[in-house]
Each structure stands twice: as C-alpha cells, then as structure tokens.
C-alpha cells in the first residue's frame, strides 16, 4: 500500500509537470519526456557522469572534512567548558556568516582552485556539525563513564563502546542535515568558480536560458543524493539505533 501511494504521488507530480509545461510553454518548463531525452543525450556524451562525479567528489571531500573536524571540536567543546567558552563565539560567527561571504573570501584569498572550493563548503558545514555533536557530548551519561573508569577500560574501548555509541545519534543527525546543506553549497561553489560539476553546468544553462539542460543536470543529481540518503544515511541511522527497538 505504501508503494502504491508513493508511485501515485510521483505520477501526480509528473502529471502536474506535464500540465505546467503545456501551460507555460516548453521554453519555460520543458516536458518530462524532453528532459529525459536531454539526460540521455548528456549521458551518451559522458558529460553527465563526469560532472556528477566531480560534484560528488567535492561533496564527499567537504562532508568528510566538516564532519571529522566538527565531531572532534564538538566533543571537546561539550566536555570542556573552558574550551567551549573560548570557541563558542567563533562558532556563532561561523553559523551566522552567509555562505556566499565564505565562498567569495575563499576564492579571493586562496584562488579559484579545489582547495578553496572544498574548504569553503566544509567551513560552511563545520559550525552546524560542531553544535549538534556538542549537544551530544553535553548529554553524555556520566554513570557509564564511571563504569568504564572502575573497570579500567582502555581509552580505545571507552571511545568505541562508551563514547561513540552515545554520540552516534547526534553524528547521524549532523550527517543527515549536513549532507543536504553540503550538496546545495557545492553547486553554488561550482557555479561561481569551477569549470566542471553540476553547478557549473547549471550556470551555463542559466546563461543560455536552457531550462532543459538545467533540469537534465538537476534531476539526476537529486536522484543520486536521494539514493545516498536512502541507502547509506538512513541504514546507518537504523544501525546505530538498533538497540533501542528491542521489545522490553
């Protein structure tokens, strides 16, 4: 029944799209079939795969950077109030600094290169990861710490079996919100300063007013990100929370 509803909802969206295309004209909103043909065209030429791969590589690099630094800094801030007081203002500034400012400054200061692009995206995501993981570190169960202390568990055992499982829901939440933030900012970074990637192609399509090309890149990319969310992020969330769902 769930699948039927999902498929019906998808068909409704396609119907609305087709109707909108007829209403506004194919130049403003090309039909689903013509966009499908454009996707096939881009795929045949190899451009689609190359651009998708370039964007995904940037998403992965900046995501991993932001999550790694964010988790470490978040834990330190959550566990050490003095470090929290020092770093908190920086985090608040980063949280409120518009993404565009960071991107422009990165390109101006570092140059129009991959380091600036990936660094700018990671820096945009970083405060978000820090704040989420910091909440997790603040909520750590001190009773379990005492168990680890009394039974003299080595540091790596404490990290793997006591600390990380408590932080996992927060890391998963940061990963989930982070992924959607990162891929959106990656497109902006590509639009502004890279010569490949989905963002760059969307920029070209915008300049040519080619909505068909724009959708031919946007839709496969959204599908890829949805697949990552469904087949990687959600299963990870379920895995780290599996102990919660046992019947009492």
């Amino acid at each position: 029944m769930n699948y039927v509803l999902r498929i019906a909802s998808l068909l409704l969206l396609l119907g609305l799209w087709q109707f909108g295309s007829a209403h506004f004209g194919p130049r403003l909103l090309p039909t689903p079939l013509s966009v499908l043909a454009a996707i096939a065209e881009q795929a045949r030429s190899g451009a689609l795969v190359l651009n998708l791969a370039a964007t995904l590589a940037r998403v992965a690099a900046s995501f991993i950077l932001a999550m790694s630094f964010g988790a470490v800094i978040g834990v330190l801030m959550g566990r050490h109030p003095s470090f929290d007081r020092i770093a908190d203002s920086w985090v608040v500034i980063l949280l409120n600094l518009p993404a565009l400012v960071i991107i422009v400054l990165a390109y101006v200061w570092v140059g129009l290169n991959e380091v600036a692009a990936i660094g700018a995206v990671a820096l945009n995501k970083l405060p978000n990861a820090i704040v989420t993981v910091r909440e997790g570190a603040r909520a750590l169960n001190s009773e379990l710490d005492e168990v680890a202390q009394v039974f003299r568990m080595p540091a790596r055992v404490r990290l793997r079996h006591v600390l990380l499982p408590q932080l996992a829901p927060y890391i998963a939440a940061a990963a989930r919100s982070g992924l959607s933030l990162v891929w959106k900012i990656v497109l902006v970074v590509e639009l502004m300063g890279r010569s490949n990637g989905v963002g760059f192609e969307i920029g070209v399509a915008f300049q040519l007013f080619d909505i068909r090309l724009l959708l031919a890149y946007a839709i496969p990319f959204v599908i890829v990100m949805l697949a990552i969310e469904t087949f990687l992020v959600q299963p990870f969330e379920r895995h780290v929370a599996r102990w919660r769902f046992r019947p009492a």
Binding site: E143, L144, E146, V147, Q149, V150, F151, R152, M153, V157, H161, V162, P165, V240, W243, R244, R246, P247, A248
Partner: protein, 242 residues
C-alpha cells in the same frame, strides 16, 4: 585521597568528605570513619537511608575525592563494583557488556558465570529487553568475571526474588572464599548482612561516622536462626541508639 596501598588490606581513614551541592555550596557527607578489611573478609556496611554508604563505596572506587584522610585499596588489586543500578551499556548485548569489563575472561569462564547466574539464554540480548532483576544479574556477572581482589557491592540483591537472592549470595560467598576476595557490601537487609559478613559496620546519619563494629565470629555455615536473631537485635539496638 585514594592510594593503591602497599598492604593487601582495604583501609579506610576518612576524616572529611564533602560533595558539591550546586551554587558553590559543599555539604559534608562523611565524617570520622576508620576501618580495615582483611583479605577474604566480608564487611557489611549498614546505616540509615541516605547516610552516605554509597558515597563511601564511590570514594573507595576513586569516583569521588576524600578531602581529609584517605582510602587505600590492596596493592595491584583488581576492583569489582556492583553499582546500585545495573549500569549496563544499552547498545551492547549481555555478553559484550561483561567481556568489555573482563577481556581476559575465557569463554568457558564466562559460561560458568552465566550459568551460575541463570543468564546463559540471555547472552545475546540487549539490556533494554531485560527485566531489572536480570539486568542486576548481568551487573553481578560483570563484577565476578574480572576475578576481583576487592569487591564493592551496593545493595546488589535488592529487587531480586528471595530464592534467586539466596542463590546469588551463595555464589558470591563461593567466589569470595575461592579467590580470597576482600569485600564490602552495602545493604539495608540486616539478615543479608549477617548471613554474608564477618563484621557489620554501622554508620550514623549524615555526615556519616562509624558508630559501631559488630563482629560475627561464627563461621557462616554455623550461624543458626537464633544466633542471627541475636546479632540482628544487637545491630538494631546500635542503630536505634544513634
């Protein structure tokens, strides 16, 4: 202060232990408490509810600092602790919870402990699916599995049915006698204290002081109901004098 002592006794010589109560206020929990527990000896700690018995165990485990005086564990002694709550890692199954505390334990040793505590069929279960009684047994298994030299137990058998509590007491005594474990048990159950201990230590209300020691010279096996009732009456009279 917590010392890893150079003797094989457990020594307590606390003059003052205070804990922060919030807003910069410290409240004295423990006062003048001094006693020793010899290897293989079982001491039971009794006293009014909230007097600081748990805090004393926590000080011995190094979880809270002693401001004046010291507590000293036997040299190189392995410490087993049964907390008042089971305190299991909810994301690890029963066996992993025990293994993480006792990585040196062999599978057959664990099997023996699980069988003795009636846990064999729950090895792969997560703590959330266990009853409180079962979770307590896992916490006891964890403390047993490390083969402790010193065992601190904070009301370990509360909320267990009488038959199981009796069996667990026998298991505990077997472990203590086999390994010459120095044990300190906090309990409100005087019969339990008298059945298990070689000595009952009586604490006053907060800030707790040691007000009396009641030795139980008879071997456990020779303690009859009459003698237990006699010792119980003595402990109660000391407690009510307070």
């Amino acid at each position: 202060m917590l010392h890893a002592g150079d003797s094989d006794r457990l020594d307590v010589a606390i003059e003052r232990l205070s804990l922060p109560q919030g807003f910069g206020v410290h409240r004295q929990i423990l006062g003048d408490i001094g006693f020793s527990v010899a290897p293989g000896e079982v001491a039971a700690l009794v006293g009014p509810s909230g007097c600081g018995k748990t805090t004393l165990l926590r000080a011995l485990a190094g979880l809270v600092p002693v401001q004046e005086g010291y507590v000293r564990l036997p040299k190189d002694g392995r410490l087993g602790f049964v907390f008042q709550e089971p305190r299991l890692l909810p994301w690890r199954d029963v066996e992993t919870n025990v293994r993480l505390a006792a990585p040196q334990a062999t599978s057959s040793e664990l099997e023996t402990i699980f069988a003795a505590l009636g846990l064999s069929e729950y090895r792969r279960d997560f703590p959330a699916s266990l009853s409180l009684g079962l979770a307590r047994r896992v916490a006891i298994a964890r403390a047993f599995a490390i083969e402790p030299d010193v065992l601190l137990l904070d009301e370990p058998f509360v909320s267990l049915d009488a038959a199981l509590a009796l069996r667990l007491r026998q298991e505990l005594l077997a472990l203590i006698e086999a390994r010459c474990v120095t044990s300190l048990i906090v309990t409100h159950n005087l019969e339990e204290a008298i059945a298990l201990a070689d000595r009952v230590l009586i604490l006053s209300s907060r800030p707790a002081r040691l007000i009396a020691e009641v030795p139980i010279p008879l071997p456990r096996i020779e303690r009859t109901n009459t003698e237990i009732a006699f010792i119980r009456a003595e402990v109660v009279s000391r407690l009510s004098l307070e």
